[in-house]
Each structure stands twice: as C-alpha cells, then as structure tokens.
Symmetry: C2
Subunit: 100 residues, 2 copies
C-alpha cells in the first residue's frame, strides 16, 4: 500500500495497519489530502480497496495497477467517483499537510 501510494505520486503522512483475528488486515495510508485504504478477507479471497486522491498530480490508477498485480487479483471490480464541485476542482488544490 505504501509503495502503491508512492507510485501514484503521493507523499505519505502516516500509515496505520492492523491485523485481524483470525486473519486479514485493515490499513490506511494517509497523504496530505488523500488516503488509500484496504480491508481484506483472506477466507473469501476478497479485498476492498479505496483510493481517495485529490488533484491531478496524484494518479490513483497507478496505485490500482500496482495493487492489482501485487495482490494477484483475479476478478476486479472498480468504480470511479468524482467528488466535489467542478469549479472547486478546476481551481486547483494547493494546501498540504502541516510540516510536509
């Protein structure tokens, strides 16, 4: 996930992962204004991944391609959702995480 974040062009602010009992993992990689999250259910061979990115510099599909390959995903279903108002997006996003 961290490598996928870097491949997407984003700078990691913080990562949080925890193992599930009896198996599986949940985790989030935070960037300044985005996050990449994963929840896995190995018993079902299933993983849910969210790639929330902001602006046009970070490319979530690069992270997607990397994760798909590394997870060895067979069947994949993706939904892309454009968030926020268009004029908001067009004006660009300039803020960064404090200290980054």
């Amino acid at each position: 996930m961290e490598h996928a974040t870097k491949i997407a062009g984003a700078k990691i602010v913080k990562s949080v992962f925890h193992l599930l009992n009896p198996h599986g993992v949940s985790g989030v990689v935070m960037t300044a204004d985005s996050h990449l999250a994963i929840h896995t259910w190995p018993e079902y061979g299933y993983a849910a991944v969210d790639l929330f990115t902001c602006g046009e510099v970070i490319d979530p599909w690069k992270a997607y391609t990397h994760l798909k390959e590394r997870l060895g995903a067979g069947d994949v279903s993706t939904v892309e959702i454009k968030r926020g108002q268009l004029d908001f997006l067009d004006r660009g996003i300039t803020h960064k995480a404090a200290g980054y």
Copy 2:
C-alpha cells in the same frame, strides 16, 4: 468522527488526524474491518467523507446523520455503494481486529 464512529456502533481501533497548511484537516478512524475518513477544504466550505462499514451491526447512516449535523452541512450529496459478493455478505463477517 470518533463520536460518529461510536454512534454507528463500531469500536475504534485507531484514529489518525493531521492538520493541513494553511487550513483543513484530514483524518481516518479505523475500526476492525471498517474506516471513516474525512478530508476538509474550509476555503471552499467542502468536506469529503467516506463511511466504509462492514456487516449489519454497524450503521453508517447514524454516523452520517451525526456528522452532517455537527459539520453544519448545507448541501449534501451521498452515494451508497454495496461492496463484495452477495453470498459473501450473507455468510456474515466474524473476524475482529487482533486484540479487540
């Protein structure tokens, strides 16, 4: 966000929040197999919130109602996405975060 998580019926495993420069906040509250994320752009009066929940015990709409009220949201747009295979969901989710 943490209060919203509890209202939804979920147990918090870890929370990560960071302030943005010059303003705004990004944060994620992790539960065993779910997460609630927020990214705000105060300069645009905009916040993007993800409420990822699993199973039927946790009710994301309770968190939604709480956050909408606490954020004083005027215009709200919501999209609910059902994830995973139906037979997978029907069998129930039993695993928990290790130690929780």
